[in-house]
């Protein structure tokens, strides 16, 4: 039950700057998720909060206390480490109860809590196993249990569910949310799983290359990304982008043109801009009524169908001879998501529209968002 404030935190490892000038306030009781590409500085941020790493510059507050120079044990934090870090010389029970034993809880209390935690992570029968005798997911669950037996002010969880299967992950997700509610603890969470980020978080903090990009509730990040990076990073599969420029009467690009009043949306004619449309906002022409404000029809050609079970990712080429590259979608490619029952096949020509209401416009130079609806 404490807020966490990072005030101008910078952390450099020699020349390598892992985190730069980060200002972040996590409110008391909030569930904040850090997301960002691999190596962007998420774990470093967590370690700074935990006190495992001294920031090169800046101050960390927990509650009102300046904890920058406080040892980890006095910060009232519990942490699930990305690399799990079980004590290999202790069995599961000892691993989980370690923090409690350090605090000299009495035997009964420890047992009660360990049992409860083991139940939450579904490891009831395994308390006397050694870490080396467990599967990857089981180890990860021990790490989670080790953190949750304690009742700290702040939970730091670095990818706690990475090695769990879908079902267990959902189970754990629910459990963690419930725990969060029950204990009213501040949680700072790192995940690469969009579903976790979206469903669990009060707010998401998007980090790129050591810099904070946006801190907002999940749907805000999803629906109104502050900049190109956030737009492309949040959402899976990611947004379709078209690079072009703002004209006097709309947006102009090689493949897609769009008419609107630049002034109204706050765009400056003549500037380079990028149009972004999420795959689920693209519809086959025949479904165009599902779009709030359908755009003009776009002619395309189905390149690849990727059936996912509950949906089919459909990769379109806007021109026959567009070069496809394995490195994400290139210009002239468009991804949309179709219902598996939809009757399409690879190579087929189709007509699609997108929902202008859900189209995003970004300044290509500054990468800042200009508008989140071009209706």
């Amino acid at each position: 039950m404490a807020s966490v404030t990072l005030d101008s935190i910078t952390k450099a490892y020699g020349d390598e700057i892992a985190v730069e000038d980060m200002n972040l306030e996590v409110r008391d009781g909030e569930f904040l998720t850090l997301v960002g590409p691999s190596g962007c500085g998420k774990s470093t941020t967590m370690e700074t909060i935990a006190g495992l790493t001294q920031p090169t510059e800046g101050t960390v507050y927990i509650g009102d206390r300046d904890v920058t120079n406080l040892p980890p044990k006095n910060r009232g934090v519990a942490m699930v480490f990305q690399n799990i870090a079980l004590f290999p010389h202790m069995d599961v029970y000892d691993n989980i109860s370690f923090g409690l034993r350090l605090r000299k809880y009495d035997q009964d209390e420890i047992e009660k809590r360990v049992d409860r935690a083991a139940e939450i992570v579904q490891l009831e029968g395994m308390l006397d196993r050694m870490p080396e005798e467990m599967s990857g997911g089981q180890r990860q669950r021990v790490a989670i249990a080790r953190a949750i037996v304690r009742q700290p002010d702040v939970f730091l969880m670095d990818e706690p569910l990475a090695n769990l299967d879908a079902e267990l992950r959902i189970h754990m997700r629910t459990q963690l949310q419930r725990l969060h509610r029950e204990l009213d603890t501040t949680v700072i969470y790192v995940t690469h799983d969009q579903a976790q980020a979206m469903t669990m978080s009060d707010r998401i903090a998007v980090i790129d290359n050591g810099h904070l990009q946006q801190v907002d509730p999940p749907l805000t990040c999803y629906n109104a990304p502050d900049n190109l990076f956030v737009a492309s990073f949040i959402g899976s599969p990611s947004m379709n982008f078209f690079h072009g420029s703002v004209t006097d009467d709309g947006f102009d690009s090689e493949f897609i043109d769009l008419g609107f009043d630049p002034e109204e949306v706050g765009a400056t004619p003549g500037k380079d801009a990028t149009l972004g449309i999420r795959p689920e906002d693209v519809y086959l022409k025949r479904d165009s009524e599902e779009a709030t404000v359908p755009s003009d029809t776009i002619k395309a050609h189905i390149d690849v169908l990727e059936p996912m079970g509950d949906e089919v990712f459909t990769y379109l080429l806007l021109e026959e001879d567009v070069e496809t590259s394995a490195e994400g979608r290139g210009e002239g490619q468009l991804l949309l998501s179709l219902d598996p029952q939809t009757d399409v096949e690879e190579g087929q020509d189709v007509e699609v529209v997108f929902d202008r209401h859900e189209a995003h416009l970004f300044d290509s130079a500054s990468e800042e968002a200009i508008a989140h609806s071009l209706a």
Partner: protein, 325 residues
């Protein structure tokens, strides 16, 4: 259930520790080093300073105060030129003294040969002890146990084996022409006996340290290496060797230093006259002739010699993958 903030009332004992921890690495380090350096200061640094002072004073063999007037580096000069008033010489480049009667060469030869063999044998032993097999517990004890033998006893065993009356060793080796009839009186024979005795006992030291090094390697790395296609030899070369390099280096370093200080074993087998090591000289000067100034100077020369060897070591091994520091 108490929330964790309640434990803000830290026990009194912990407070200095907490304070310490926030001081940054350097202060923390210095405080933790304090006990070690305090102990060393009393037992080592202070006496060494005194001993150094002694080494600059003349020997006063006929007064209660064992140190005479200040003579600067006179003892050192005598020692390095073969003019020391000691029954054996430290170094006599004129070679009037046979080479195996010069403490420096005896000691260096002993250190190099013994450490070489001990490392090889210790390595072999450690590799065996690292395996899983039935009865390994007892094999391990058997291999380590020579190290537990007091030097007096170790010396007694080899002394007796090679004593002309009791031991069977001389008779046999003499008959095949390897040793003379009184090997413990012969410098080169005795040198070999001392060497063998030392290797017998001290290989276990190397074995222990190497074994410990082997055991702390994460076994998973071998799995990776196996799948990547490494043969047992390659696993040894690329995983085992680099990862035990530092324990091995430490072991060799300390063995070398220890070998260069050899005294007890020699004293109790062949005797310091027959195989005069550097430490032998110190003790002879100290106990037998009561030339404490000379003894102190020999001690310092011994230290300097060992220091030089250690430097050669560190330079030679600096390029190898794991340095000591």
């Amino acid at each position: 259930m108490s929330s964790e903030t309640e434990e803000a009332s830290t026990p009194l004992l912990m407070r200095p520790l907490n304070w310490l921890e926030t001081r940054g690495d350097a202060v923390f380090a210095y405080v933790l080093l304090a006990p070690a350096f305090l102990l060393l200061a009393v037992v080592a640094f202070f006496p060494l300073v005194r001993t150094f002072q002694f080494s600059l004073r003349a020997d006063a063999i006929r007064s209660a105060e064992p140190f005479g007037e200040f003579i600067g580096f006179g003892h050192y000069q005598d020692l390095l030129t073969g003019n020391a008033s000691l029954p054996q010489q430290f170094l006599d480049l004129s070679m009037e003294t046979p080479i195996l009667q010069q403490a420096l060469f005896v000691t260096l030869a002993f250190a190099i040969i013994s450490v070489l063999f001990e490392t090889l044998i210790g390595f072999g032993q450690a590799l065996i002890l690292d395996q899983e097999f039935r009865g390994r517990r007892w094999v391990r004890v058997a291999i380590i146990i020579p190290y537990a033998i007091p030097i007096v006893i170790q010396a007694m065993i080899f002394y007796l084996i090679f004593s002309p009356q009791i031991g069977f060793g001389t008779e046999f080796l003499n008959s095949i022409g390897v040793f003379e009839s009184n090997p413990l009186q012969n410098t080169s024979n005795s040198f070999i006996i001392v060497l063998v005795a030392d290797i017998w006992k001290t290989s276990a030291f190397m074995a222990l340290l190497i074994l410990a090094g082997l055991q702390s390697i994460d076994r998973q790395l071998y799995d990776v290496a196996k799948v990547t296609g490494a043969s047992p030899w390659q696993r040894f070369k690329y995983i085992t060797m680099p990862l035990i390099a530092s324990p091995l280096l430490v072991a060799m370093l300390f063995r070398t230093m220890d070998a260069m200080r050899i005294y007890g074993l020699i004293d109790a087998t062949a005797g310091c006259q027959t195989v005069p090591s550097m430490s032998c000289l110190v003790i002879t000067a100290l106990n037998q002739t009561r030339r404490w100034g000379s003894a102190s100077a020999v001690a310092f020369l011994t230290a300097i010699t060992i220091g030089l060897v250690v430097i050669v070591y560190l330079i030679g091994l600096r390029d190898s993958e794991a340095g000591v520091t």
